[in-house]
């Protein structure tokens, strides 16, 4: 090969590697921008919220605005906590899961079993649409279905129903998708042992896809954990710890909204948000680990 041709080739190679490097740096820079908000959020929440976190914060209900003001003027941390919000969130999320998990998993199994059927396609599309319905509209629906006719007033049940409708599409989808990943051969192995079809589903398909189902459920829960709008129209909020599903109930995001509206309580926003964020992150990480372990 001539030396000139050689030089052109190496020059080309040099500019190419240079371009490659520039492009790679750009990609890295842009990617960092994506994770920047979450880092800033976590930093801010910890910086402003950690000093408020204590046993009292988890075990006590919020102070009234006068107590908070007194503490502020004395330069003390605000007394009390968000126990009513924590218990309310747990109550409503658990109840919502109790409603959404069985319905969602059974629907997902139906979609998996009848892929081409008209009803299955309809359900799949409606479920997709449901995923896009604004959460406040779901709150409105739960208000119409539960608050007025069933519990005769704002209630934890109504809150749970609105949250369960939000969780449903995610659980349906993840159930169908995980079942689809099970090789047909596993199903055949069970059928060839004379196992009746419904038992194949319950005793082979569900256990085999269990971690996938769990991942979908955990993501669904973490999705509704911070929902505020639908709860405003359904659970309303409460200053006391309440375990009665037919009574108004507080929740962490509801409290954050209330604190925001009271100048004396503003400090509690940060610690409450920190706790909520920690719960959501924990669920997310748990679901990721479960998903990774089964690959």
């Amino acid at each position: 090969m001539s030396t000139i041709a050689n030089k052109i080739l190496t020059d080309n190679l040099k500019t190419r590697t240079l371009k490659n490097k520039a492009f790679k740096s750009l990609v890295v820079a842009l990617s960092v921008i994506t994770i920047l908000p979450i880092i800033l959020i976590i930093y801010k929440l910890i910086a402003k919220g950690i000093k408020q976190i204590s046993f009292d914060f988890i075990l006590k209900t919020p102070p009234d605005t006068f107590e908070a003001m007194t503490a502020l003027t004395n330069g003390e941390t605000i007394p009390g906590g968000i126990a009513n919000g924590i218990t309310g969130t747990l109550l409503m999320v658990i109840l919502a899961s109790v409603i959404a998990i069985p319905v969602g998993v059974v629907t997902g199994i139906y979609l998996y079993e009848n892929p081409g059927k008209f009803l299955a396609n309809l359900i799949r599309n409606v479920s997709d649409i449901l995923q896009g319905v604004p959460s406040i509209v779901l709150g409105l629906i739960a208000y119409m279905w539960i608050v007025k006719p069933v519990t005769n007033g704002f209630s934890a049940l109504a809150g749970s129903v609105s949250l369960s409708i939000m969780m449903l599409p995610m659980i349906v989808r993840s159930t169908e998708e995980t079942l689809k990943m099970i090789p047909q051969t596993i199903k055949e192995a069970a059928l060839a042992l004379g196992v009746p079809y419904y038992k194949v589903i319950i005793r082979v398909l569900i256990p085999t896809s269990f971690s996938g189902l769990l991942t979908g459920i955990l993501l669904g829960i973490s999705r509704v954990l911070g929902e505020t709008a639908p709860l405003m129209l359904t659970a309303l909020g409460s200053t006391i710890i309440n375990f009665n599903v037919s009574k108004p109930t507080s929740a962490i995001p509801l409290l954050i909204w209330e604190f925001y509206n009271d100048p004396n309580m503003v400090d509690l926003i940060w610690s409450s948000s920190l706790l909520l964020m920690a719960m959501v992150l924990t669920l997310n990480i748990m679901s990721k680990r479960i998903a990774a372990r089964t690959k």
């Binding site: 055949e188 192995a189 069970a190 059928l191 060839a192 042992l193 004379g194 196992v195 009746p196 256990p207």
Partner: protein, 260 residues
């Protein structure tokens, strides 16, 4: 008319005028009649798509999974018409092994062997369960390899070990006949030859019907061979006879590698 006449005394399985179609009017298995000999290995050969798997699956009625399937003719297993048998009983009597090893991924090796009992809710005393597991794993020459890891997941085993585990799972039911659909086509040569040796040994106690697209495998281990073409059973006889002097031109062309 079929180009063979073979008399088999006291067959384990009698297939009479069996036709199976997935779509109306198109026969995947076309009027097949054959008796299967007890305690021997019978191979089903033929080019891809000629109906081997369909025939095999008709025997334990696994083909009924498909919605529009139509079946004509009779299959008699040990004197019983299979269409009158409850599926659980039929599939206990006719165990099946598939092309790709398919142990249950969530179950231990031990549980995989007795999966047929477990999944059907048949309760056994621990001692009997242990016996069945040991006997079945010994029968497939897997016991020594796994006896210390019985409670580990079956999916940790090699492909060949997994396939032997799947055979053990079928043997746990003490079947009359074992149906195998290309059981070695996903395995390496060493694992394949282990399974072949195993099948020859197993025929002492079981009757074996095996689909294979590998002619030399059929020649090595089978006592009887069928050759199918386009759903039809073209030729059926002693393997030795078929490989040395095939009666049908199509069999000869297949065996000499002219198609397939």
């Amino acid at each position: 008319m079929n180009n063979f006449s073979i008399k088999i005394k006291d067959p384990v399985l009698s297939i009479r005028n069996l036709s199976v179609s997935y779509d109306k009017g198109k026969y995947a298995v076309d009027n097949v009649t054959a008796d299967i000999k007890r305690n021997s290995v019978t191979a089903i050969m033929g080019p891809s798509g000629c109906g081997k798997s369909t025939l095999l699956r008709a025997i334990n009625r696994m083909h009924e999974l498909y919605e529009n399937i139509e079946t004509k003719g009779d299959i008699i297993l040990n004197g019983n018409d299979i269409s009158d048998m409850p599926t659980i009983k039929l599939r206990r009597m006719a165990g099946m092994v598939f092309q790709h090893p398919n142990p249950f991924p969530t179950m231990s090796i031990y549980d995989n062997v007795i999966a047929g009992y477990k999944l059907n809710g048949i309760r056994l005393k621990k001692k009997l369960r242990d016996e069945i597991v040991e006997r079945s794993l010994t029968d497939v020459t897997l016991w020594d390899e796994v006896k210390d890891t019985l409670y580990k997941k079956g999916s940790f085993l090699s492909g060949g070990q997994q396939q032997r585990l799947c055979i053990a799972r079928a043997l746990a039911f003490n079947p009359e006949v074992i149906l195998l659909d290309e059981p070695t086509s996903a395995l390496d040569p060493v694992a394949t030859s282990k399974i072949e040796d195993l099948l020859v040994k197993l025929k002492e106690n079981y009757s074996i019907l095996m689909v294979t697209h590998n002619m030399s495998q059929a020649a090595r281990i089978s006592d009887y061979s069928m050759f199918m073409y386009l759903g039809e059973l073209v030729e059926y006889g002693k393997t030795k006879d078929m490989f040395t002097k095939p009666k049908d031109r199509r069999t000869e062309e297949y065996l000499t590698g002219k198609f397939g």
